[in-house]
Symmetry: C2
Subunit: 557 residues, 2 copies
């Protein structure tokens, strides 16, 4: 994009009109600061895709201007894209102690730690990034050590909230710094970027503390083993499980790689307190009195390979669920995961477990980490921004957030609902949204980043629905006689052993197409292949109502 | 199964441990009566499958004993399998007038109407089916003309509830016949089969009537066009939309094939009352004052090809959603559909519509047709069965339903939680569950019924994730020299144009595998193919972390 003097630009590369892959940036002349670099899980239509990350073409084209990646907190939708980002842009990463711990786990996996500059910050830090300075404030969320950011620019102050709710009685002293937020508001906020996840939900988010009370109650009643499945990164909830286990004299085992890794980081860095000797190995579980064990496990979203799913189908090596055991699902299913989660619940019931499941408001075992409407209004009120850019959410959430801003006095025309790639330029305190930079989804598939596009996905879709049929025929170079074949090989289309007649007719139609064309003296391979495809495809559709991918292969000898 | 004299057998061929494809049967000696024949929609793991229907092997093997298919009501999970059932077993179908209307739509589509004997019954009918007699009672549900069934057998009376709730103020006079149910209970019920869909939900289902009140309120407020999306078969809800439209002086257009078909059946057969001249064509919508039109449309479950989805993406031929229009989603998303539904809602917001969405209890625009716990307890209390078989639901629902039965006095040991295929035998009033008959999922894919099995699905899965690679090589018969190739064709794996080096190496490895084997004088095609697969597969996984299906084709000339 054209360099604009004395202009402050704000844009999203991911996170608006979607839930996931958050990435925002602000630019003042030659300095760009990037906020977060998240991943997003593909829906079932993106066959074979492992992860979606933001398209960072613009940042690559302006490599020399990118001063830093500042990370607000350690959730996947804020850090999941970092390894891919670093391969293109090796800039320093600023984050809090716990967030850095989670980023380091990721960099270890990708063998990127040695070459990356990681800078630990806290809410009192102030960092200089070219003409942009950043200071911070603490927020409460469902993971420890979250930050909101104030960017001090020559044009004015820009606030990015990160993810937040206002929890006045959080666990582990993870308070929102309301006094500091008030001061930031008093000093003047030119533009506020605030998260919108729960902008559709009225009221104030319940405090995490209530979960602890319900947890303790359930622990008091339970007789057998207790399994608790939750996000490993929800360290404060893990702490409450620890507290309930202490009260009921239970030891704790951890199941699942991410549970073990993240709990280790949390303990090492001082965010989680587990008394010595309380943690046991999964191999010790079955040796103890069932009433003396708590098992913390991954898989609350129904992930088929995670611990809870394997437990529910009796496929976990060391540990089994027995009649009389209690299983607590201390997380709500993310939209799209409901069916997988309910399959697991059903299996657990079949094993005879008492399962505590359902929405958090029913069971009391889960509260959201994202502020509801009253939380969002409190943030807006504290910050009193001139301009407002709702971020982090689907369009309807941004839309509702705009209405909340209006209700506390932000002029409707001063709210910008942007798409990924839209740029809001502010010059002399006047904001307008006219330009766009490249933005979109980059697909990660195995080791490939961005190499799988529409064509490959379209082929996968066709293959997934009706399979395919390869037809090979060998033709002599001179007289163009059929020397061998046609032979057919099908996969995912019909069960070949029961489809003799069908495949014989395919061979006959192929032969006919080839000889007919030869009579007309048509010699182009492409025409020949198209003719075979059409004739065979039509026949197969009539016979089966399926449209397998047909691949005619003509070999000339 | 062995014929048991003086024994009454009850079994499920579909509908327990699942939601969908309901099919139950009772047998007394040489007489079998089948209840319902439903379909079930596949989840995303069943690639390319269109519908799941019950495995009816047992009925086919006992063809001459099957006296009738009795259908409780016209929902897809109770009638969706009928066309496939009829192709194997041409038995008479007994159902109410409205249910028959929906079955006939289906038979028309499959060209089966002429050869099928359809018998209209009502709640006062009594039919003789060999040694089994059937009488009926009316229930309330989310579709008109529902029946519960009493089977009078030499061993005692068996009651099948169908789907029901107790709605004391239903629309269109679709009352539950509580007096008759009480009488049935008084006469003695040996075994009760009762539906379990909402056995997890406490309280009593709200009446359909409340929806009408909320609908009217929303209609009063709306300025532009009003779109209401709901299940077409929920005729009573459609009637309430008609009522609100009359009050606000709006004409009604119908969008979507099933909306048009089912509304026609309902009008013709007297279940829906729309004043003359009130229905307009979709092509007339845009000509009228937006404040004077209601549009009833399909697609409340987010189905991508249905009317609502096409409206939300601006792809409906005659009708568009404009800013200021109101869209009411008068149905809850079925688990698994949440993501598709929320995508549509988001698109509608982007078009500037006011969208009324969310759970029925929040919006008031939807109530369930399935009884909650208090409804289920009322049925159990009225019937006072000796034996209880909870049906129609996942295991956890059946489990909860058993607890409800216990709470009103059914001995725990007298409740049978069965799987599809389990048989409950009752002889001299003593019930036991020891035998099993074949049962399971039969997949419908295009015109194929049951021909797609595990192998085809496993291939589709591999193809869907990483695509495939065909490698063709031609070898001379005599000296086994490579005459042509190897040539590679990939689909859904990598974008071939950018993968020259990768595919070159595949060719080299293939050549090497072939020549190495020839040196060792290995001549079996299978060994050769396996060696190529292994060598190429390993290389590709190292390079890409993908596992495409590899199909080596060796042609011998």
């Amino acid at each position: 994009m054209k360099l604009l003097n004395n202009t402050l630009s704000i844009f999203a590369l991911g996170g608006v009109n979607e839930v996931g892959k958050n990435m925002y940036a602000i630019q003042y002349e030659d300095d760009i600061v990037v906020i977060d670099c998240g991943g997003k899980f593909p829906d079932e239509s993106l066959l074979g895709i492992d992860l979606i990350i933001p398209d960072i073409t613009y940042l690559e084209e302006n490599k020399e201007k990118v001063r830093a990646l500042v990370v607000t907190h350690g959730h996947e939708d804020h850090i999941g894209g970092i390894p891919y980002f670093l391969r293109k842009l090796n800039v320093p990463i600023y984050a809090t102690r716990f967030t850095l711990g989670l980023i380091e786990l990721k960099l270890d996996e990708h063998r990127l730690k040695r070459d990356t500059k990681l800078v630990e910050i806290n809410s009192e830090s102030r960092i200089e990034l070219g003409k942009i300075e950043a200071s911070f404030f603490r927020t409460s969320h469902s993971i420890p050590d979250c930050l909101g950011i104030v960017f001090h620019t020559p044009e004015g102050n820009i606030v990015h909230t990160g993810d937040f709710k206002f929890d006045l009685t959080p666990e582990n002293n993870q308070h929102s710094d309301i006094h500091k937020m008030a001061e930031i508001g008093t000093n003047g906020v030119l533009a506020l970027l605030s998260e919108s996840t729960n902008a559709e939900r009225s009221g104030l988010t319940p405090t995490e503390h209530t979960v602890g009370e319900h947890m303790e109650e359930a622990f008091m009643k339970a007789k057998g083993k207790i399994f608790v499945s939750t996000f490993a990164s929800n360290v404060n909830r893990v702490q409450q499980v620890v507290a309930a286990s202490i009260k009921t004299n239970r030891k704790i085992a951890l199941l699942g790689r991410s549970m073990i890794n993240i709990v280790s980081v949390a303990i090492e860095r001082g965010y989680l307190n587990i008394p010595d000797g309380m943690l046991i190995g999964s191999n010790e579980v079955e040796q103890l009195d069932p009433g003396k064990v708590t098992i913390l496990c991954t898989g609350s979203q129904g992930e088929p390979m995670a611990a809870l799913s394997r437990l529910s189908s009796g496929n976990y090596r060391d540990v089994s669920v027995y009649p009389g055991d209690t299983v607590i699902l201390a997380a709500s299913p993310i939209p799209g995961n409901e069916r997988d989660v309910s399959r697991i619940i059903d299996n657990l019931f079949q094993l005879g477990a008492k399962v505590i499941y359902g929405s958090g408001s029913t069971t009391g075992m889960h509260v959201s980490g994202h502020g509801y409407q009253e939380d969002l209004k409190l943030m807006l009120t504290l910050m009193k921004p001139t301009y407002f850019i709702p971020i982090h959410g689907e369009f309807r959430m941004l839309h509702h957030h705009r209405q909340l801003a209006e209700s506390i006095g932000v002029e409707n025309g001063n709210t910008f609902i942007i798409k990924n790639g839209d740029v809001v330029d502010i010059q002399n305190k006047a904001a307008r949204q006219t330009r766009q930079i490249p933005a979109g989804d980059t697909y990660v598939d195995g080791m490939g980043v961005g190499d799988v596009g529409e064509i490959v996905l379209r082929d996968r879709k066709q293959l997934s629905e009706d399979g395919m049929l390869v037809i090979v025929i060998t033709i002599s170079k001179g007289d163009r006689k059929i020397i061998s074949g046609p032979d057919t090989i099908s996969r995912g289309f019909v069960y070949a052993k029961n489809s003799d007649d069908l495949l014989k007719e395919v061979n006959r139609l192929t032969k006919k197409a080839v000889t007919d064309l030869q009579k007309e003296n048509v010699r182009q391979w492409n025409v020949m292949k198209q003719t075979i495809k059409k004739s065979v495809g039509q026949y197969l559709f009539e016979q089966t109502r399926r449209r397998p991918m047909i691949l005619p292969i003509i070999i000339e000898i």
